[in-house]
Amino acid sequence: MPQVRMRVNGREVSGEVEPRTLLVEFLREHLGLTGTHVGCDTSQCGCCVVHVDGRSVKSCTLLAVQCDGAEVLTIEGLARNGELHPLQRAFHECHGLQCGFCTPGMIMSALELLQRNPSPSEGEVRAWLEGNLCRCTGYHNIVRAILRAAEEMREAPQPAA
């Protein structure tokens, strides 16, 4: 079985995987990082979004072996020293989550948006979230949370995640 190595949330990890193992399976089942969720089998819900080499990707759509040597950031790696990232805080303050199942993917997806575009409009946020489904919140508070986090991050820029 192939061996993969990657850096996940700043930590070197490796493992033997069946070639068909998806990145999300590797994260959840081999590394126990269960914050990344699986909500579909057609690459459409976005519950599984993580960052690979600084870009948001659907981890159900990549094989683990494709990520050999990559730098991976998951929701578990976002808070620093117990301090929530502004996006995490804003989701909390704006009630941007209910059941929480879509939330890790939403936050990781929004993170790339704000890295590319620090001042998105409401419409740009809604358009960016095209690949993330939420069945609970009606999106209203998710959009508010992302706009609030953007504001906070502009005022106090974050160290690169």
């Binding site: 269960t34 057609t42 989550l97 059941c99 929480g100 199942f101 809604r126």
Partner: protein, 789 residues
């Protein structure tokens, strides 16, 4: 005012674990030595199972077992049940087709469970599931609800006409009489489209058998773990009730779909005992489309009789409801008692008659989905009211005003067995019209026309019955269980409070709102309260969360337990303060001798209760109390939604431009959370109105919309920003909180508001979902003049 007490928009306690990826959903749990289950499902809508060739996969790598319906029967596993008995008009009981945990004789819908493969890894189980040889003899399916009655085929061989029951409610003669003298009658044929619930977390289960204790622990995605335990032990023979522990940890949304007792979870629990190893199952999304109970799916002919002033005289409704292939857990109650009793809407309607026939078809079972019966009723009433306004040339707000049950008429008895508790409908309507600038709408319509767009405005005034349910009333109507709720409130030595509730939170934020309640009632810090739910080994027997019942029923049980604690605390405080019980008053966490400054905090009293060095001789130590609350009536939230849409006449595309919601939920514990419930409900309603539709191929019975590629879910850019306001409100007299429930309102009120707006925009009524194609075709059919002319 208590900090973070009742009425404040406190951000949620539960969020931290979810935003950091530390939630603990069923699929996040693993047990040493666990096996993995995958279900083999029927590829046919209707077929006889000729042979299942276990040998075709038993030698495959990692395969441990292939379980079939015959194995389940041999082990005494009982069939699935429907927990609500409905009688037909002729007095005969509903006809229940046998629903096995794994099919034995026939498969009855695409996705029906045929076998379960258990293997060492999920991949191995999946490989074997694909390889298992099953021989079928295909039968003609019954797909179409409209023709199910006369279909040549039968879903269940012993049920003629595929008819489960033919039920009625109301006074038919009075309705006929009112129609005979009506100035106008409007009549409509309405389709309430079939929906797939699609909670983002697919269902999952993990079971372990402990031979030492002869006990099964089952983790699963449930809205009501005690109900799962009850049914799985009493009917499915999984284990005696005291030997079955059911845990519903974090659950990623339910919307009804996780109330029901399905075959998969039963098989997983049974397999764990049979094989002596933990067994885990996680549904794929494409399985969820087939296997989770769907919602709605009604065909209705509805008529309304009005006088020349637009006053409603009577309503006559004839509905065919699709049951799917089998009766799911509460399926019989949804198109009957959760539907027809709401047909009075917010209006004084002297006579109502409803007839409901429910049919089996070779499709996925249909059961409660957010709103469950009430959205179907609201859609009928609010569409008819608009039709009547058009017929009479009346303003659509005005016709509603003329028919509202006035504020001073409560409690109000409808002709369809409900007694509305309280309401103030006119205030909600007027406020919503004001926020929506209803008066200025024609101007916006003209502006839109100048841009080549057709703009329309729609109103819906909804009513909902929540706080399910007064047990005796429910049981007299056929419910197999009581629908009270339970709570236990416990102080610890150090003055912290644990709250054990029989409800379950899967997005509703009970850990926060119940903490607010307790902080207010006991005067303890919000942070000192911990809410525990979802584990039958920890919580008192409770009925779970659905029907917007948790605050109005479960919250009241908590409050009553708090009151018992205060009563006992008074006795302890009296002893400590050397006063008589009657002289002690309690306020904001402090027991005080009336008119003095001699006092003890509730934490000091709790400590004294556990370390009774000086203690009333006739009192038990400890400070905890439990309570059950059985509500005297339902609660009746209401409100008005106003929606503005723009239609592009070139493409038929509808966009929702403006949304105003004014809801009367009685007393609101946490407005932040309740607004969130409205947003979510409205968007599910928007999904029903514009996007979502579970479509079966009429010939083959295949689900054509079986993934997120074919079934359109609402996304962030389908949705406008919402204006949500709570009316000053009419507190419910059904519980001391005055709470009414808020979980389903959005999904009930939104579809007619949107559809009425589209009707207004294009001048012709279309069916849900109003897809661009349908709207465009409708526009062609009336040959609308170009909007821009």
């Amino acid at each position: 005012m208590v900090e973070k007490g009742i009425g404040q928009p406190v951000p949620r306690k539960e969020d931290r674990r979810f935003v950091t990826g530390r939630g603990r959903y069923t699929d996040d749990i693993n047990l040493p030595g666990q096996l993995h289950a995958v279900f083999v499902r029927s590829p046919h809508a209707h077929a006889r199972i000729r042979r299942i060739d276990k040998d075709s996969v038993l030698g495959m790598p990692g395969v441990v077992a292939v379980l079939t319906g015959a194995d389940a029967e041999a082990d005494g596993i009982g069939p699935l049940i429907c927990g609500w008995m409905i009688h037909s008009r002729d007095g005969s009981p509903m006809k229940m087709g046998t629903h096995r945990v794994l099919a034995t004789d026939k498969v009855r819908y695409v996705g029906d469970r045929v076998a379960c493969i258990v293997a060492e890894t999920p991949h191995q189980a999946r490989d074997a599931a694909e390889a298992l040889v099953v021989e079928y003899e295909e039968l003609e399916p019954v797909v179409d609800l409209a023709t199910a009655h006369d279909a040549p085929a039968r879903v269940h061989d012993d049920i003629p006409h595929n008819l489960c029951y033919d039920w009625e409610l109301g006074d038919r003669a009075a309705v006929d009489e009112a129609f005979a003298r009506a100035a106008k009658v409007v009549s409509l044929d309405l389709t309430n489209n079939r929906l797939v619930p699609n909670a983002m977390e697919p269902r999952a289960a993990l079971a372990a058998y402990d031979p030492g204790k002869d006990e099964i622990t089952l983790y699963l995605t449930s809205q009501n773990p005690h109900v799962h335990r009850l049914v799985m032990s009493a009917f499915n023979n999984i284990a005696p009730e005291h030997k079955l522990r059911v845990v519903a940890p974090d659950v990623g949304g339910g919307f009804g779909s996780k109330i029901f007792i399905y075959g998969e979870e039963c098989v997983v629990a049974w397999a764990a005992r049979r094989l002596g190893r933990p067994v885990k199952w996680r549904e794929e999304r494409s399985e969820a489309f087939l296997a989770d109970a769907h919602g709605r799916d009604h065909l209705t002919h509805a008529e309304m009789a009005v006088d020349e002033d637009g006053r409603i005289l009577a309503l006559r409704v004839d509905t065919k409801a699709n049951l799917g292939a089998y009766m799911s857990t509460f399926s019989s109650a949804i198109p009957t008692y959760l539907y027809a009793p709401l047909l009075s809407g917010q209006y004084r309607i002297p006579a109502i008659y409803a007839r409901v026939r429910t049919y089996y078809t070779n499709t996925t079972p249909v059961d409660a989905y957010r709103g469950a019966g009430r959205p179907e009723a609201c859609y009928v009433v609010e569409t008819l009211v608009d039709a009547a306004a058009r017929e009479l040339g009346l303003d659509r707000a005005e016709i509603r005003r003329r028919n509202f049950i006035p504020k001073d008429a409560f409690p109000y008895e409808t002709p369809v067995i409900m007694t509305y508790d309280s309401g103030d409908y006119a205030t909600c309507l007027e406020r919503a019209l004001e926020l929506a600038d209803y008066a200025g709408f024609e101007q916006r319509r003209r502006e839109a026309a100048a841009r080549g767009k057709l703009r329309g405005i729609g109103i819906a005034c909804y009513i909902e019955a929540c706080g399910i349910a007064p047990s005796q009333a429910a049981i007299s109507l056929g419910a197999g269980v009581g629908l009270w709720e339970s709570a236990e409130v416990r102080f610890t030595h150090t003055g912290k409070v644990q709250v054990f509730t029989g409800t379950h939170t899967h997005g509703q934020g009970h850990e926060t709102t119940f903490s607010q309640l307790v902080a207010e009632a006991l005067g303890v810090p919000f942070e000192d309260v911990e809410v525990i739910h979802g584990d039958t080994a920890a919580t008192p027997v409770g009925m779970g969360t659905y029907g917007s019942r948790s605050q109005a029923v479960g919250g009241e049980a908590i409050l009553r337990a708090c009151n018992k604690i205060i009563e006992k605390g008074k006795k302890i405080a009296a002893h400590l303060l050397e006063a008589s019980d009657a002289d002690i008053e309690f306020e904001a966490g402090t027991f005080r001798v009336k008119g003095t400054d001699r006092q003890k905090t509730i934490q000091e009293v709790a400590f004294a209760a556990y370390v009774p060095s000086s203690y009333p001789p006739d009192l038990e130590p400890g400070l905890e109390a439990s309570a059950f609350f059985d509500p005297p009536n339902f609660t009746f939230p209401s409100g008005t939604y106003v929606c503005e849409v723009e239609v592009d006449p070139e493409t038929g595309q509808v966009s929702v431009e403006k949304w105003v919601a004014v809801d009367d939920f009685g007393r609101v514990i946490n407005p932040l959370i309740v607004e969130g419930q409205v947003h979510g409900g409205v968007v599910q309603g928007l999904g029903q109105a514009l996007l979502e539709h579970a479509i079966y191929d009429r010939e083959s019975g295949q689900l054509l919309t079986g993934s997120f590629m074919d079934y359109a879910m609402p996304r962030a850019d389908h949705v406008p920003d919402f204006v949500v306001e709570f009316a000053p409100g009419s507190p419910s007299p059904s519980n001391s909180l005055g709470a009414k429930g808020a979980g389903e309102a959005g999904a009930i009120g939104a579809p007619p508001a949107i559809m009425n707006a589209i009707w207004d925009a294009i001048g012709v009524r279309v069916e849900m979902p109003a897809t661009p194609e349908r709207v465009w075709r409708a526009l062609q059919s009336v040959r609308m003049p170009q909007a821009a002319e």
